[in-house]
């Protein structure tokens, strides 16, 4: 496997001439923009990692007069705060990415779905958006962006739940297919992209795909923004080249006593110290939407797991049984084992339940609860029992 050194990169927040990039995009063809995305190998930065070029290609292929670009700014994964920072510092690039996506797929409308927790950003974002609308009109784009607010529901970061919420309903995920590229918000073909993905797309148009490919590995092209928190002397936002190992990451950000890193938030994977050197952060190893939480040896991994399960039990939308009941039973189960009310072998039963949820849950929330559960129980079993 390829492995890169830990390298800091400055592309997401770098100062660029937005007008020039947008003019360049305006003069490109639909197919040209999509080809650049395909060539770059960009995968979605929200966590799931679907190739952006393909998403745009599929949406572009749909024959509909009404299409939408939706920016997923419902950043709720515990440990992720990069999208807030990106919107706060370079909202024009987010809006710019939406216009470029709109040109690529043939959409005239964009919607930013911003989580309710970030409502305080609106007084700054609205004037920026107004100036942006003026700018793109001068260039010649026919595109308009509006903001829709969330109201405190983690599940609304799931794309189809997000559409339901925009449409004024409970944020309950839909059955797939049809996929959003065919039937998304208001039943129209929709390209839904993460905040950072849209900024990266704008950067790829600016520099060309070759520069992007020069960063990262075969499976994980480019750089991405990491949200670093927990037991670290330097918490914050860092844009890093993809392809480093957890060990390299810990050497840079750890406090010298790191025993585990939770990569990808509550729905991600726990990497214990003994696996730091062999685990690559990226799609060939542990994928992440950017959440990196470090735990040192003073932390109880039972508390970490309990906190995550409590989170999922509350945030499960309750629509499908495997997730609704599964989250509650996993939570109750680890409590029982901890209190000695159930034997330690009960953890094996709970692991089977986590596996069932992965197969049977309707959406990514229920399917990924097992990631944290199995990686924490698997690596820190004694901490869960005693």
């Amino acid at each position: 496997m390829e492995n890169k050194e830990l390298t800091k990169v400055d592309l997401i927040f770098e100062k660029i001439d937005n007008t020039e990039v947008l003019k360049k995009a305006f003069n490109m063809t639909q197919a040209g923009i999509i080809q650049d995305m395909l060539d770059s190998g960009l995968k979605g930065r929200g966590g799931a990692g679907f190739p952006t070029g393909l998403k745009w290609k599929y949406t572009a292929a749909e024959n509909s007069p009404d299409k939408y670009v939706v920016c997923n700014a419902d950043e709720g994964e515990p440990g992720t705060f990069k999208d807030r920072e990106i919107l706060d510092r370079v909202s024009n690039k987010v809006h710019g990415g939406m216009v470029i996506a709109g040109k690529a797929i043939g959409a005239k409308k964009g919607i930013v779905y911003l989580r309710g927790e970030y409502r305080y950003l609106l007084p700054k974002l609205m004037p920026e958006l107004e100036a942006f609308h003026k700018l793109i009109k001068e260039i010649g784009f026919d595109f308009e962006i509006e903001y829709k607010m969330g109201s405190g529901a983690y599940i609304c970061g799931e794309e189809s739940a997000l559409f339901e919420s925009i449409e004024g309903r409970r944020g309950e995920p839909r059955n797939k297919p049809p996929y959003p590229t065919v039937s998304g918000v208001y039943g129209k073909p929709t390209s839904i992209n993460n905040v950072e993905t849209l900024v990266t797309a704008m950067m790829i148009i600016n520099h060309g795909p070759q520069k992007f490919i020069s960063y990262g590995t075969k499976d994980s092209r480019g750089s991405k923004v990491f949200s670093v928190s927990g037991d670290t002397p330097t918490p914050g936002i860092f844009e890093l080249e993809l392809g480093m190992t957890v060990l390299q990451f810990v050497d840079e950000f750890g406090d010298g006593d790191t025993k585990a890193v939770q990569v990808g938030g509550a729905s991600g994977f726990c990497v214990p110290r003994k696996k730091f050197a062999e685990t690559i952060i990226g799609f060939e190893g542990v994928p992440t939407g950017g959440s990196m939480k470090l735990f040192n040896s003073s932390r109880s991994m039972y508390n970490v797991l309990h906190n995550y399960l409590d989170f999922f039990a509350e945030e499960s939308c309750g629509q499908c049984t495997p997730c609704r009941v599964g989250c509650q039973q996993l939570l109750k189960g680890v409590e029982k084992v901890k209190k000695g009310e159930a034997k330690s072998t009960y953890l094996n039963e709970l692991t089977k339940l986590a596996d069932t949820m992965k197969i049977a849950a309707k959406c990514g929330l229920g399917q990924s609860v097992g990631n944290a559960f199995k990686s924490i129980v698997g690596n820190f079993r004694e901490e869960i029992i005693y």
Partner: protein, 154 residues
Amino acid sequence: MYQVGNLVRELSDKHGRVRESLMPILQGIVQKHNYLTDEAMVEVARELDISAAEVYGTASFYTFLETNVKGKYVIRVCKTITCSMKGKSDIIQTLEDILKIRVGETTTDRQFSLVETNCIGWCHKAPAILINEMPYTELTPEKVSAIIKDYMQK
């Protein structure tokens, strides 16, 4: 209790009487009155010509669309892992002492409500809270007391 008829009409005029306006309308009411009364939800249902059950069903799904009485300032303390590791309990303790209420309660003068919430996206500056829309970060018991005392003066 509050009278909500005019506000619901204003919000319906602004956002339009269609289903996709339901969230912005409910959010608008909560911004002004901090929670949704049964009367408010019935009024919204009437304006949008949908059933009150649809309105309640939607509102009750979202944590920030409160359907129980809430104070003028809703204090949401993040309880997710990093904030929990970095002193969330001390912040709660301090708030409970100052406000003389427990988590989940509202002060008798209806000024403050104290609740816990899931990750609000400030893990690098934990512990963090929201007071209505405003985030406050890197809190200590001293810092949070000063902030609440400021709000008490308002």
